[in-house]
């Protein structure tokens, strides 16, 4: 979660990073089919399951957003 926060901090006009507690926001987590945590949803399209290194998260962002 901290990695997502770091990313938002770098460009807060474009990036919104939310840590979502799955128990309290059950509807949302069911909507995405969250089964394990941490699970990062990128623009409601990309997914990164588990805590991953910065490089891998960046690769997933590029894959989801393009460029």
């Amino acid at each position: 979660m901290l990695l997502a926060y770091q990313m938002a901090m770098e460009n807060p006009k474009m990036v919104l990073a939310e840590g979502v507690e799955a128990m309290e926001f059950q509807e949302l987590s069911q909507q995405y089919g969250i089964s394990g945590v941490p699970d990062t949803v990128i623009n409601a399209a990309g997914r990164v399951v588990g805590a991953v290194p910065e490089q891998q998260m960046l690769a997933e962002l590029i894959r989801t957003l393009g460029k």
Binding site: Y5, L16, G19, N43, E54
Partner: protein, 148 residues
């Protein structure tokens, strides 16, 4: 009212908060309509804030302050904590939110995110910084966690 943070934990947090470089303000958004644990979270934050002179807190209600909720993109998302950088009266929104109860491991994450914002630097590597700076479409990251 009984304290939520035990003395030993308070001591540890005080020590960690010595690293705080710049002021941080937490905005807590509760909801009278639907928020089972809002009182507890508010109390927790109210116990946390006095542990450093760099910290401040403001308490809000989603229904009573819809414009502010919209501004911070937390509509319908109580309980929500927005972690901002404060310079005097000026708040800078870094796009950092925690939705839910910050207990267990997530309490540690809350402390870490306060340290992060206080440092005013993401600490990311140059390649990641460069990519994020040139984003042309908004990026929304939702990181699901459970309070283990």
């Amino acid at each position: 009212m009984e304290k939520m943070l035990p003395d030993e934990i308070v001591k540890q947090i005080r020590d960690v908060f010595k690293q705080l470089k710049h002021p941080v303000e937490l905005l807590f958004f509760g909801s009278q309509a639907r928020c089972e644990y809002c009182n507890e979270i508010q109390q927790l934050l109210e116990e946390l804030i006095p542990l450093s002179g760099q910290l401040s807190l403001s308490i809000h209600d989603l229904e009573q302050e819809p414009d502010l909720a919209r501004h911070y993109q937390v509509e319908g998302k109580a309980p929500a904590i927005v972690i901002t950088a404060r310079e005097g009266d000026q708040l800078t929104d870094y796009g950092i939110r925690y939705l839910g109860i910050p207990s267990g491991h997530e309490f540690t994450t809350l402390i870490q995110s306060i340290l992060l914002v206080s440092g005013r630097d993401s600490g990311l590597n140059p390649q990641t910084r460069a990519y994020l700076k040139t984003l042309t479409t908004p990026l929304h990251l939702e990181v699901f966690v459970t309070p283990t």
